[in-house]
């Protein structure tokens, strides 16, 4: 049978990190981690798993490869079980293997929870393994680069402080050709909401900011964006295991909204960012709920449609299918609102199966796509099942309100030649809406 040792991939970050370790150092950090940050959750999961193998079919990696070493429980036996058995005193090479499993072979998508009678959260166990690897300085190079970017610039993409308002201004200028009265409001105190995006938007997908501005303008909303760091809601430090940077990033995000005295934060179409703000960083910072209310754009669009603020001229004619992003579906229960919005916008929706909470992950989330090119082929091969699922719908358009999902789905679409393309809700709304003052 294969194990992780049979498929190790060279990664500069992992290799260098491991070269600085000794078994003694690993043990010291491991013991500190277990004693300091882990409690009954880890202990119960580790002891209670009856090794029944039912979770195998939950995981897209297993379903794509049919290789037992990719199943959820196997990810645990190859990492945490080994570490606990040795009380953390393991060869540095073992840490390399643990890092590869935890960072690149688990999307923390939590699908396995629907398969395990005992409710074991393999994603959580993998996060603990990641935390250990981070503390040992063994992280995939690409992901670490983005975590560094968060710590140095408070955004994921090394966007400089002046580049950010520049980009917004540039988008505003472009949009004013189409909507003469449009503004991208900056630093408006007391606006109804602060709109926040992930750093790849100003960097590569500026049209999404343009479209959001057009939609908010058409709907006549009171909104603002901040001009200062704290505008980025993405959080790769959450995935690298760097909880300290993770919480700094989110604190800046919440505090920016508080400084602007907005009623709430509306987030762009991203799943992992939502998880960081809604579920993870707030707890690390000691808040039961968020100091500022958080709304994901799926829910926000749904509200606007309910209030009759979004009007469309026609429906999208081609049939579409819906990809349910784990972080806002299993992570926030937005499946029905997502459907309502898509049905409002499109003539025909062909569901893929399984769907809603039971959807297969796109295999990009959990930071896996952010581990970069060395791991790309494995990730794409590990998602053959999603490709089959997409293909079976027979449609050409996939609606996916999550940045990572777009990345992951586009990769499998091109690899498996599915002849499909992905759309954000913002793309569709912008395309179909009644445009005021349009020329």
């Amino acid at each position: 049978m294969n194990t992780i040792a049979d498929r190790l991939i060279e990664d500069e970050g992992l290799r260098r990190g491991v070269s600085r370790l000794t078994p003694e150092k690993i043990q010291k950090v491991f013991r500190e981690l277990i004693a300091g940050e882990c409690g009954a959750r880890l202990k119960t999961y580790m002891e209670t798993c009856v090794h029944c193998g039912m979770c195998a079919k939950a995981c897209h990696y297993y379903m794509s490869h049919k290789d037992p070493s990719y199943m959820p429980a196997a990810k645990v036996t190859q990492t945490m079980t080994r570490l606990l058995k040795a009380d953390g005193k393991v060869d540095p090479q073992v840490i390399y293997e643990c890092a590869q499993v935890a960072y690149t072979e688990c999307n923390l998508c939590r699908r396995c929870i629907h398969y395990c009678p005992l409710g074991i959260d393999t994603g959580y166990i993998m996060s603990v393994v990641r935390r250990l690897c981070h503390k040992l300085g063994v992280t995939p190079q690409y992901m670490q680069d983005t975590a560094h970017s968060h710590s140095a610039t408070m955004n994921q993409m090394w966007v400089k402080d002046d580049e950010w308002p520049d980009t917004l201004q540039w988008q505003e200028e472009e949009a004013r050709d189409e909507f003469p009265g449009l503004r991208i409001p900056l630093e408006v105190e007391g606006a109804d909401f602060m709109y926040s995006v992930i750093a790849p938007e100003p960097k590569f997908r500026t049209q999404l900011i343009y479209q959001a501005a057009a939609i908010f303008h058409a709907a006549g909303l009171s909104w603002t964006m901040p001009a200062t760091p704290g505008w980025d809601n993405s959080n790769m430090a959450m995935f690298s295991g760097d909880s300290e940077i993770m919480s700094r990033v989110e604190r800046a995000h919440y505090e920016t909204a508080q400084r602007l005295r907005v009623k709430r934060i509306v987030m762009g179409e991203c799943g992992h960012a939502f998880r960081a703000v809604y579920d993870t960083a707030n707890r690390w910072l000691g808040w039961k709920w968020h100091p500022v209310p958080i709304t994901h754009s799926v829910e926000f669009f749904w509200e606007l449609i309910q209030q009759g603020r979004i009007k469309i001229t026609h429906k999208y004619a081609e049939p579409v299918t819906i990809h349910d992003p784990c972080n806002i579906i299993r992570g926030r229960g937005l499946m029905e609102k997502l459907r309502d919005v898509v049905h409002f916008l499109c003539e025909e929706v062909v569901e893929m199966h399984p769907n809603r909470e039971h959807n297969y992950c796109c295999c990009a989330g959990g930071g896996v796509i952010n581990c970069g090119p060395p791991f790309k082929n494995v990730r794409v091969a590990g998602n053959a099942i999603k490709a089959e699922q997409l293909k079976a719908t027979g449609v050409h358009t996939v609606v996916a309100p999550c940045h990572n999902c777009h990345g992951g789905l586009e990769d499998i679409i091109s690899k498996y030649e599915l002849g499909m393309h992905t759309k954000f809700l913002g793309d569709l709304i912008y395309e179909l809406m009644e445009k005021p003052e349009a020329e």
Binding site: G39, Y45, G53, A73, G119, K288, G331, E357
Partner: protein
């Protein structure tokens, strides 16, 4: 052998039940204390309504996605666990024993039915062991302990069935049966059999997270 039998039904039985009850209580309380001390940010979201709803789904055969996707395991698991509880509690032999020693008694299962249920347990244990060895995804995660605990359960029932049918030396088999059963009780708090204690809590906890925080179902 008689001496061993007397030991097994006497002091060893007390010891086994004592360790099982006290050990289980200790493990549950210790785990609760650890959760309160270290998992505050998670304990805060525990919600009994969500936990109950999810447990109802998981206690229903095919009531969750996991059960539906693994039909054979599901049927085996449900039958196995039902028999595992029914037989020891409602077996005539056990009730008679308790009646003699403590004067406790309650209605028993018809002998033949109890016999069939016991044989079913043995067969399912054999199936579980076969699965452990030959189904790749189960073999991959199987440890020695997993094999030992399944065998222990299987042997307890097997010796019981053999003794009931008076196959082999009755005294030897009955004694073995009692000793295996006692070993099983002692093992519950300290091995994977502890899923009997913690399983409801781990499922209940994740159901609370899904219900309270994530507004999604976990079945």
């Amino acid at each position: 052998m008689h001496a061993l039998y007397d030991l097994a039904v006497g002091p060893l039985a007390w010891l086994a039940f004592g360790i099982f009850i006290l050990g289980s209580a200790y493990r549950l309380l210790a785990m609760r204390a650890l959760a309160l001390k270290k998992d505050g940010a998670f304990v805060a979201f525990i919600s009994w309504p969500h936990a109950t709803k999810s447990l109802m789904h998981w206690l229903t055969p095919f009531g969750s996605l996991g059960w539906r996707e693994n039909p054979v395991v599901t049927v085996a698991t449900f039958i196995f666990h039902i028999c595992l509880f029914l037989v020891p509690i409602f077996l005539m032999g056990h009730i008679v024993l308790l009646d003699t020693f403590h004067g406790w008694s309650w209605p028993a299962l018809p002998g033949q039915l109890a016999d069939i249920l016991s044989i079913i347990v043995v067969v399912i244990c054999a199936y579980f062991l076969w699965r452990r060895m030959s189904v790749p995804e189960v073999r991959f995660v199987t440890s020695a302990q997993d094999i030992v605990v399944v065998s222990l359960v299987g042997l307890t029932f097997l010796t019981g069935v053999l003794a009931y049918h008076r196959i082999g030396d009755n005294l030897v088999l009955t004694t073995l049966h009692i000793l295996c059963g006692e070993a099983m009780l002692i093992a519950i708090p300290f091995t994977r059999l502890s899923h009997m204690l913690f399983g409801f809590f781990s499922r209940g906890y994740i159901a609370s997270e899904f219900g309270s925080v994530r507004h999604a179902k976990d079945w």
